[in-house]
């Protein structure tokens, strides 16, 4: 058994997070009881962070308990719910915050519903490129930033967001889909160059083949 924290662990080949909302399975994930603790399976096929955790050789992908996270491109909130398990815990007793930004009203509706049962999540309807519209919801620079937007120019958006909002020494994770870039074959190599030139330290490149084809996670430290 491999634990990332006392709230997220690997058991065999599956990943589990400690369910902050007891008895509730968000998208039909398996739940299991171990004494007083309920674990919720974290599916690597629907969450790139989960796939990254299972494949990664380096620590530091998960945000720490009680920290503030900025999540750009939050989608329907599957990953957010597991991050909430880690960062906020039941009824947000760890006083963490997850600022979840997405452009799609449909996704934000799902996030609002999620946030109503899981306090600590702040849904923001905004374009990730429009940094001004995100700042009112943050109080300071964040120690953890994740971006998964699947649009052209992802790397530039990521760098701008990190420069403005990631604390120095903070963890930035970029999920890059090569197919969203103009030239898919060199997208990964280019992205690495650009990230290093922008002054980030590349901790690890995680190829998600098997769970998300043509995706790569870049784990960097500012």
């Amino acid at each position: 058994m491999n634990s990332f924290s006392n709230r997220v662990k690997i058991e065999g080949r599956t990943l589990w997070s400690r369910n902050a909302l007891r008895g509730v399975s968000l998208r039909g994930e398996r739940l299991k009881r171990q004494g007083r603790i309920e674990w919720r399976q974290w599916n690597p096929f629907s969450s790139k962070i989960a796939a990254g955790l299972l494949k990664s050789q380096q620590p530091g992908i998960l945000p720490t308990i009680g920290s503030t996270c900025l999540y750009l491109g939050s989608g329907h909130g599957t990953t957010i719910s597991h991050l909430h398990d880690q960062v906020c815990g039941s009824n947000n007793h760890s006083e963490g915050t997850i600022v979840a930004v997405d452009l799609s009203p449909r996704c934000i509706i799902d996030l609002i519903q999620l946030a109503e049962t899981r306090p600590g999540i702040i849904p923001v309807l905004a374009d990730c490129r429009d940094l001004v519209s995100i700042s009112p919801f943050l109080c300071s620079e964040v120690p953890w930033l994740f971006q998964d937007v699947s649009q052209s120019g992802q790397v530039d958006i990521f760098i701008q967001a990190c420069e403005r909002y990631l604390a120095s020494g903070g963890t930035g994770i970029l999920s890059l889909k090569s197919q969203s870039e103009r030239d898919a074959s060199v997208a990964f190599a280019n992205a690495e160059d650009v990230l290093i030139k922008a002054g980030f330290t590349l901790v690890e490149k995680i190829d998600l083949t098997g769970w998300e084809d043509k995706h790569m996670l870049f784990h960097v430290v500012k």
Binding site: E95, T97, P105, I108, I109, L111, I112, A115, E116, P119, G120, I121, I122, P123, V124, L125, A126, V132, S133, S135, P136, F137, L138, C139, S140, E141, R164, Y165
Partner: protein, 327 residues
Amino acid sequence: MELVWDWRLARVYDAQCNIIDECVWDGTRSIAATVKRLKNLKSGQMTDEARVLQERFPEANRVHHTSFKNWPVLDTYEAELLQKSSLILAEQEILEVSSAPDFRLEHLVRALDVSRTTANNVESQLVDWITLLLPSTDVDQHRSSLAATILDSDDWDQFVSQFEQVNVAAVQSGEWNSIRSLSEQIGNANSAVITIENTLQELANSYLPSLSILLGPAIAAQLCVAAHGRDRLARLPASTIQVLGAEKSFFSHLNQGTKPPKHGYIFQHTWISRSPKSTRGSIARMLSSKAAIAARVDCFGGRPWGAKERSEVEKKVGEIRARKKGR
């Protein structure tokens, strides 16, 4: 000197990060009031407190609060207020988006598409089925009236008696009931198509009057949805409007060098689809540039086009047809 602010307070710091002046939001910290503040901040405006301090210290530089090291953190009460307000704000913004005609138009166009596809699919399934049961009748001929005829008949024998037939399959009552319920689906889908079509026309005529006069409300709506809204349609060049709806062949042209498409959605217009093949490209070019003008008229509040403008364009279509014929 630096001016820093967020939704709670504004402060002026000197070079050594000492607080020179401070202005705290002293109104009632209700959710509704916080939502209002967040909304203003999101659109890039300053808070009232920040403006007060800016007037007192016009020489102070504005610094972003998230990058300012000593900015006070949220207390538990403030964090909760921010979280609750963010939910309300997000809901309000979603309502703003969904109340825009663009959004309504998009759903009407998609719903129309789905209902049409359903009606066609179910109808061909029914025709396939009946054809096998009535081998000596040309069922395809009665395609459009088939569902109605089935619904009017009480049982299989009565339905069959309306056709001249030699050989007929025997059909159990269960199977007959299944055929009937399939026919009901076709009827429902067809009436949905009519209702949606009428609503769509009404909306397109009021939201895109000029474009609807020129191209008909159905094509106008399709173009608007394909461009992701009227604002964006009005900013598209005519050459893009010309090939909206022909993305597949357009991108295969760019990537593989196949022939470029001459027309997208506007092909459905009879001026193009009923014209000789050799003239369609020219007419599509002319029509799309007129459509671009019409879309701009609608978007930027010009005087809507009427029958006069339409007949002028129609005259040009006639000219192009005649010119090509003369060659």
